[in-house]
């Protein structure tokens, strides 16, 4: 096996009764990579993470973490996990939770204390280290859960929606921490709904839909690969007829966004000229006009087949 590979997944499959939750998934993540795992709700993201972290067993296929079979004690030993919707123990203090986790990973007490102090300081939790976790805010709990995943200094980190529902400050702090960890060579496997987050953080992203892998590539390459997703955002000084707007030469589809219209096209230049002609011939004044490259969200929507054709 290649030593540069941190996570290797081959034909991973999981059924829940009749439902095929994960369908012969195969991909690799290289050491030190920041890998995003995207998909709509129910696509099989969390099931995949749970198979990779050894919480549930796959029905078919194999997965390995740093050459160890996923789910084995050795694989778990080199892995840190922030599960989706997980909690720390509310009846223990933040410090108590960290010491428990250190015990479960077999970290010597002095090293555990040193790491826990540093992690709690970095995440701003140190002044509340002896408070029971049930008195923490949601943001503090999530920062603690990240600390719990890091107390063993893992080589590979799995995070399932770590910033979901958090305040801007906590989300920012977690993202900064993850970037710092990645810069130090840690492999990060991030499941997220936040396209902007994936775009900012990830070297590559995988998109899964209905249990199947539909794309794996760098965010920029995925964005640029989506044809027909270039768009112009335009607003006029008066009401316009959507039917007429949609019939302008070069327009593939339109979407109303507040007082603006987004017009999707394969030929930006032609559309801009057509829009100027349309506004002057109809006595309309263009208030604003911006040309937009496809976003990762556009790519995601196109690849998962969730894009609505028209407004």
């Amino acid at each position: 096996m290649n030593n540069d590979i941190a996570i290797q997944v081959v034909n991973l499959t999981k059924h829940y009764g009749e439902l095929l939750a994960v369908d012969h998934l195969s991909f690799t993540v290289t050491r030190g990579e920041f890998f995003g795992f995207l998909g709509p709700n129910g696509a099989g993201k969390t099931t995949t993470v749970r198979m990779l972290t050894g919480v549930i067993k796959a029905d078919e296929g194999t997965a390995s973490i740093l050459e160890y079979k996923a789910g084995s004690l050795k694989a778990k030993q080199v892995t840190g996990v922030v599960p989706e919707m997980a909690n720390a123990y509310g009846d223990l203090s933040g410090w108590g939770n960290l010491m428990l986790m250190a015990d479960l990973y077999g970290i010597p007490a002095s090293l555990a204390r040193e790491r826990s102090t540093r992690l709690m300081q970095e995440t701003g939790l140190y002044p509340r280290k002896d408070s029971l976790v049930r008195t923490y805010s949601k943001g503090m709990k999530q920062r603690l859960i990240l600390c719990l995943a890091l107390v063993s200094d893992p080589e590979v980190l799995f995070l399932d929606e770590p910033t979901s529902g958090l305040d801007v400050q906590s989300a920012r702090l977690i993202k900064d921490l993850l970037q710092g960890l990645n810069a130090k060579g840690k492999t990060i496997f991030l499941t997220t709904h936040d396209m902007e987050e994936a775009n900012q953080l990830c070297d590559r992203v995988a998109i899964i839909n209905e249990g199947k892998l539909v794309a794996v590539d760098a965010p920029e390459k995925l964005r640029m690969a989506v044809s027909g997703m270039h768009s112009v955002e335009v607003s006029f000084d008066n009401m316009v007829n959507p039917g007429v707007l949609a019939s302008i030469p070069g327009v593939n589809s339109i979407k109303k966004l507040g007082d603006k219209w987004r017009l999707y096209t394969t030929n930006l230049g032609e559309l801009v000229v057509s829009l100027i002609n349309y506004s002057s011939s109809n006595g309309l004044k263009i208030i604003s006009l911006n040309t937009l490259a496809p976003s990762l969200e556009d790519a995601f929507m196109a690849l998962t087949g969730k894009e609505k054709k028209d407004a």
Binding site: R50, T53, G54, V55, I56, K57, L73, K74, K76, Q77, T79, V81, P83, M85, A86, N87, A88, Y89, G90, D91, L92, G96, L100, M101, D103, L104, Y105, G106, I145, L148
Partner: protein, 251 residues
């Protein structure tokens, strides 16, 4: 076969899980109610007004308290963890499912032993004499382990509601108390009653406790110990095998 360091490593992690259980679950309402208050009141309701000797009552009280306390923590920990969403984190740590089960059993075992000291001390205060202290100590330890293991069998169904598990446990625990010779000595039971009594592990503890304190038991002491050991192994194996299948279904 796992190498020795792995076994020792997992044993240390079981201790960490047991410490966590002690700190979190001993003070939970259902543990106090079903583990301490309930057996005391049940015992009092069946003994007050009856002319029973102290050396007959104390082994029965001890058996009932040990049975209820040692089965009060282990059944609720896993459903509670699943409900509180701490179980997935625990399962993603480098611990086997067996390690988690042993940790929960240890916490329940220690709770059972600690609370069982109360009826023992009451008995000593009231003047009973333990005629066979070694056998008695061995029996208390083995029974606490046996009942704590039984507790984890109650939590095998993959429900995340501790109240449902307590209900399942109660359905088993109450009949067991009545068929185990606590209130009526085994010698006085009809043949069919004795046959039913032999399927309860509590019968063997009550019998050996009476042997240790009153000097006479219904069955040989060695047989009581052997059967208790057999039940312990059976409950451990069943719990470890079946939790392998049901624990991931709680997530």
């Amino acid at each position: 076969m796992p190498d020795m360091p792995t076994v020792l490593q997992q044993a240390r992690r079981s201790l960490a899980i047991a410490r966590k259980d002690v700190r979190i679950y001993y003070a939970k309402g259902p543990v106090i109610i079903f583990g301490v208050l309930f057996p005391v009141f049940l015992f009092l309701s069946f003994t007050i007004g009856r002319h029973l000797s102290v050396d007959f009552m104390i082994p029965g009280l001890l058996g009932m308290i040990l049975f209820f306390t040692a089965t009060s923590v282990s059944p609720i920990v896993i459903p509670w963890e699943a409900q509180a969403r701490t179980l997935e984190r625990l399962m993603s740590c480098p611990v086997k499912i067996e390690t988690i089960i042993v940790g929960d059993i240890l916490a329940s075992f220690i709770f059972g032993l600690a609370i069982s000291l109360v009826p023992i001390l009451i008995g000593l205060f009231l003047g009973i004499t333990v005629l066979s202290p070694l056998i008695f100590t061995l029996a208390v330890i083995l029974a606490a382990l046996c009942f704590a293991s039984l507790g984890t069998v109650f939590s095998i169904p993959p429900t995340n509601l501790p109240s449902t598990v307590n209900m399942i446990a109660a359905v088993v625990k109450f009949p067991v108390v009545f068929i185990s010779g606590i209130f009526v000595p085994l010698d006085e039971l009809p043949a069919w009653g004795q046959a039913v009594a032999y399927i309860s592990p509590l019968t063997y503890f009550t019998d050996i406790a009476r042997y240790s304190i009153q000097g006479r038991g219904h069955l040989p002491a060695a047989l009581d110990l052997l059967v208790l050991l057999g039940f312990t192994i059976l409950f451990l194996v069943v719990a470890m095998k079946l939790h392998q299948g049901t624990m991931p279904r709680r997530i």
